[in-house]
Amino acid sequence: MLRDARNPEIATHEESLGFPMGNVKALERTRERLASRIDEQLLKTYERVSRKSPRVVVRVEGGVCQGCRMSLPTSSASRSITPASLENCQNCGRILYRL
């Protein structure tokens, strides 16, 4: 959401449709508050990946990372994800999730 609000293309599009996007500061404060609750190492990983990939957390669909479109190893693709064992794509480093 914050990324969209900071994206000039998306923000301009939304504002042109009548959606005010003025209060980005409120979102930034929320982001800071939530980030302070996240494990430091995990946050570092997030920040590192975000420097090269705008969308850090991506879905796994059909055993494929939807960030880089590379197939995940079978062992990885079948693993269940818990908060304590977050999985990164071995190709692009993005954090993976499944629905």
């Binding site: 959401m1 969209d4 609000a5 000039p8 293309e9 998306i10 301009t12 599009h13 939304e14 042109s16 449709l17 009548g18 959606f19 005010p20 996007m21 003025g22 209060n23 980005v24 409120a26 979102l27 929320t30 705008p54 969308r55 957390v57 879905r59 939807q66 999730y97 629905l99």
Partner: protein, 165 residues
């Protein structure tokens, strides 16, 4: 950059493919914005669009903190992209009496279009849906027809015709 520079697909339309009868609330039970957002999120959960309606509710609240999605003339279009959903869907909710939604014109909201979508980058379909809804409900007679529609199918047909006009 203006919206005119965005490349939006012609194919996807609100009426065809994104509205669902399970995501239609013919009359909202509540009257205030916070409760409306809760009812919308709960409906998404009931319709198994998300396993985490509370998470969606929190995102909706955050989006409203950025600026109200009550865009005036009785219309609100809350919209979020989240990893909590896997499909783009639109929920249509109505309120004959109107709900307080902190709309930009201060008027009560009678029609709520909630858009939820996964965080695909880029996602021109999501932006197109947003634009199409705003375009479709710009006329008072369309808004009234939506409020008068006796069934979900009738409301969908109103939107189908309005999008094509």
């Amino acid at each position: 950059m203006t919206s005119a520079t965005l490349t939006l697909p012609k194919a996807a339309t609100v009426a065809d493919g994104f509205l669902r009868s399970s995501l239609y609330i013919p009359e909202l039970r509540v009257k205030r914005k916070s409760a409306v957002l809760e009812e919308l999120a709960q409906t998404l959960g009931t319709a198994t669009i998300t396993k985490d309606p509370e998470g969606i509710l929190e995102l909706l609240r955050q989006r409203e903190s950025l600026g109200s999605t009550g865009i005036g003339k009785g219309i609100a279009v809350p919209h979020v992209r989240s990893t909590l959903v896997s499909d783009r869907v639109i929920l249509l909710a109505r309120s004959q009496k109107g709900v307080e939604f902190e709309a930009v014109d201060g008027a009560p909201v009678h029609l709520v279009f909630l858009i939820v979508a996964p965080p695909i980058e880029p996602d021109p379909v999501y932006l197109k849906l947003l634009a199409e809804i705003v375009h479709s409900v710009r006329l008072a007679r369309v808004r009234q027809k939506l409020l008068d529609a006796p069934t979900f199918e009738a409301a969908r047909e109103v939107l189908r015709v309005a999008a094509a006009s």
